[in-house]
């Protein structure tokens, strides 16, 4: 079995194709464990995984906690509200505290790009980025790619349309890096006010019209529209956004017939996706959730346990 080059997982930009494939393969073994009657292995017994969350996130935090539990690691949650973070302790000082607590790995969610890297540069234990501002959300990117692989049999040559708020989306960025490395074609679709500058240099095609953007695609990955963007004139109203960029049944004929529909959740039903579609057979939203646990188990295993350089 191969190893990951770096002690931290900061983003997919810095992973090689081989490393991504290693993670996906390891996740497959982990998913097998999740299919067993007893969904737990002793691999990381006695290891402490700390969730350090500066932004609220039930889904990602629970998914990491569950992944740690399935591998028999001890988990600990430090959220911004309960930790000294709000009392003005610096990230650098918090890192020292984590080390003193005996953490074997830290999962960090932070609102500022680069925060995960800063933590990783400060301590010598593995740091897993669970989302840093609009920079990257590598485990989400990996679980999306894993889901595509599972649903479509391969990633290479697939055309994936990522639709929505690309500008502020770390999910979009991680997906783009990973998908491009594995040979997929990537389109980003959304109003120009939600498109970051020069994103085409990442090797994607930019579409400002939903119908054009999803024409003939294999996969549609819908991003959640943050309601707080409303009122900042990035788009006039949620209603108008839904009218021009919300995916509805009538759009399905434009994509491939067997198109896979993904969404990182939580869904704003009736905004980026209509209710009937969210529960249609093409949607794999629950599979994504399950795959998320497998991906995070794989990463904890590779970084703390069996697949790191220390072993």
């Amino acid at each position: 079995m191969g190893i990951l080059k770096n002690k931290d997982l900061i983003g997919l930009e810095k992973l090689s194709k081989e490393e991504i494939e290693l993670i996906l393969n390891t996740a497959k073994s982990m998913k097998d464990i999740l299919k067993r009657p007893i969904k737990k292995v002793p691999t990381l017994r006695g290891k402490l995984v700390v969730n350090l969350f500066y932004e609220p996130s039930t889904r990602t935090s629970s998914s990491f906690s569950l992944a740690a539990k399935r591998l028999s690691a001890d988990g600990m949650n430090l959220s911004a509200k309960s930790s000294s973070v709000v009392k003005g302790e610096s990230l650098v000082d918090t890192a020292k505290t984590l080390k003193a607590l005996g953490a074997d790995a830290v999962v960090i969610r932070h609102g500022i790009p680069g925060a995960a890297k800063k933590l990783g540069d400060t301590i010598d234990i593995p740091v897993l980025n669970a989302g840093d501002g609009a920079h990257e959300h590598p485990t989400q990117g990996l679980l999306d790619i894993y889901t595509i692989l599972e649903e479509r049999g391969k990633v290479e040559g697939q055309t994936v349309a990522i639709v929505g708020d690309i500008k502020y989306s770390r999910v979009a960025r991680s997906n783009i890096w990973g998908l491009k490395k594995l040979g997929a074609k990537v389109r980003v679709v959304g109003p120009s006010t939600l498109m970051p500058k020069e994103i085409e240099k990442m090797g994607v095609e930019v579409y400002n019209n939903l119908e054009d953007g999803i024409e003939g695609v294999d996969v549609i990955n819908l991003l959640r529209i943050q309601k707080e963007r409303q009122g900042k004139s990035l788009f006039p109203t949620i209603r108008e956004y839904a009218k021009f960029y919300g995916l509805r049944k009538k759009h399905l004929a434009l994509a491939k017939e067997d198109m896979t529909l993904m969404h990182p959740g939580p869904i704003n039903r009736g905004v980026e996706i209509s209710s009937d579609l969210a529960y249609s057979g093409q949607a794999v939203i629950e599979d994504q959730v399950e795959n998320g646990v497998a991906i995070r188990m794989a990463l904890l295993y590779l970084l703390i346990g069996g697949g790191s350089k220390s072993e």
Partner: protein, 433 residues
């Protein structure tokens, strides 16, 4: 009488177009003689063979942080850093705490400045507290000794107030130095808007935030006839606007910082908060336009925007870190390495933008090597290569993105008013007097 004889150096004086190997004699605080093979009884002799002697550098954009932020820098520590960097005259921005916006504050900082090892001048605020609402006591501050006005750190967003500030400054023949940044366009941005802001997810500041205010301020200056100086120009668009305005005869000048011609926004991918400054590091295309502006004379001045901060302030998440880097002690090395060695500017042109260029903008009688002028001189070893080590800075601020970078060109000795205020270690300059 105190006599100092510099022997065997190569004099470069951009104003008089001097470029020759001559001896230079200083008596007390003045240059008294320049000639071949001077023999002076009773003079202390400094052998500067193989070295270049230029007028002392003039930095019209530094943040000395006093009063209010003495933990970042003081007039004393900033002056020492200046001397080490070859600067004999520095001009402090008023964004201290309190903001220098009245004559008594001006007097108090200038009194402290008199004790410093280099000449310290002060800029006053355009508006009270630099809040952009009401004009400060500009005339009285001029009486107290300011050399320009600026609300550096912000643009005066109310165009009417800016217009009145320019018109009023004219009464007192004061240049107005503008930080050009549209507050609404810049928002809470931290980096240049482009490919690298997209990749890093860091909040972008578009080039237009600078360009629209440069255009506005040029228009207002043109209307009022006031003297406008644009601080730390950084975009291709802004360079173009200044070029056109100069052609029309508008009284406008501008400066660039060493980091804006040395680095591009690619540096932000390190997420190192020492790549965070305002204006932000721009794209490769902007850097090219800056170099063209230096070449064709659109850019008159190189100024450091020396902005020291404490380690604790910078050692945080990118967005939380304050803008700015130190600049006094790396300026010459960057000018020689990035501009002279790369063929962007001749040595004389580069020295001009560090000496007589900035002196002219503020009307200071500095920046030239002529008999009768103040003996403010910088002696340079052009070939010396050295590696930037922030721990060796005399500035309190160690915040630089150039740590570990090898530069060429080092200040050997700095002389202010005939007195040696800085001498590099192990340079082997013999006192034979």
């Amino acid at each position: 009488m105190n006599k100092l004889l510099l022997k065997g150096g190569k004099l470069i004086d951009p104003l008089s177009k001097k470029k020759e190997e001559k001896d230079l004699l200083i008596e007390d605080e003045k240059i008294v003689e320049i000639g071949e093979d001077l023999q002076v009884v009773g003079a202390q002799v400094i052998d500067v063979k193989g070295k270049v002697i230029t007028p002392g550098f003039v930095d019209i954009h530094v943040h000395l942080r006093e009063p209010g932020f003495e933990y970042k820098e003081t007039i004393e520590s900033g002056s020492k850093a200046a001397a080490k960097g070859g600067f004999t005259t520095i001009v402090a921005m008023p964004n201290t705490n309190p903001v220098i916006d009245n004559p008594s504050l001006v007097s108090s900082v200038l009194t402290k400045g008199k004790e410093a090892s280099v000449n310290v001048h002060q800029i006053g605020a355009i508006t009270k507290g630099s809040l952009g609402k009401e004009l400060a006591e500009i005339g009285s501050m001029k009486e107290a000794g300011i050399v320009a006005i600026s609300d550096d750190g912000h643009s005066v967003m109310d165009s009417q107030i800016m217009k009145l500030g320019l018109e009023y400054a004219k009464n007192f023949d004061l240049p107005v130095i503008v930080h050009c940044e549209d507050k609404n366009l810049a928002g809470d941005g931290a980096v240049h808007e482009g490919y690298y802001s997209t990749v890093t997810g860091l909040t972008p500041i578009p080039s237009s935030a600078e360009d629209v205010i440069v255009a506005r301020d040029i228009s207002l200056a043109e209307e009022s006839g006031a003297k406008l100086h644009i601080a730390h120009i950084s975009t291709k668009g802004a360079v173009g606007l200044v070029r056109q305005a100069k052609k029309r005869g508008v009284d406008v000048t501008c400066e660039v910082t060493p980091h804006h011609f040395s680095l591009t926004d690619e540096a932000i991918t390190s997420f190192d908060s020492n790549t965070k400054m305002n204006p932000p590091l721009r794209s490769a295309e902007d850097v090219e336009a800056i170099k063209e502006g230096l070449r064709d004379g659109t850019i008159d001045v190189i100024a450091t925007d020396h902005a020291p901060h404490s380690k604790e302030e910078k050692d945080v998440e990118y967005n939380y870190a304050p803008f700015g880097i130190t600049g006094l002690e790396t300026a010459l090395g960057l000018v020689i390495t990035e501009l002279v060695k790369e063929g962007v500017l001749s040595l004389e042109k580069a020295i001009e933008k560090l000496t007589v260029g900035p002196a002219k903008v503020l009307g200071l009688d500095k920046g030239t090597l002529e008999v009768g002028k103040d003996a403010d001189l910088t002696i340079i070893d052009l070939d010396k290569k050295w590696t930037v080590d922030p721990q060796k800075f005399l500035s309190k601020g160690k915040n630089t993105p150039f740590s570990g970078v090898e530069l060429q060109g080092e200040v050997v000795t700095t002389i202010v008013g005939g007195k040696v205020v800085y001498r590099a270690e192990k340079q082997g300059i013999g006192d034979k007097g």
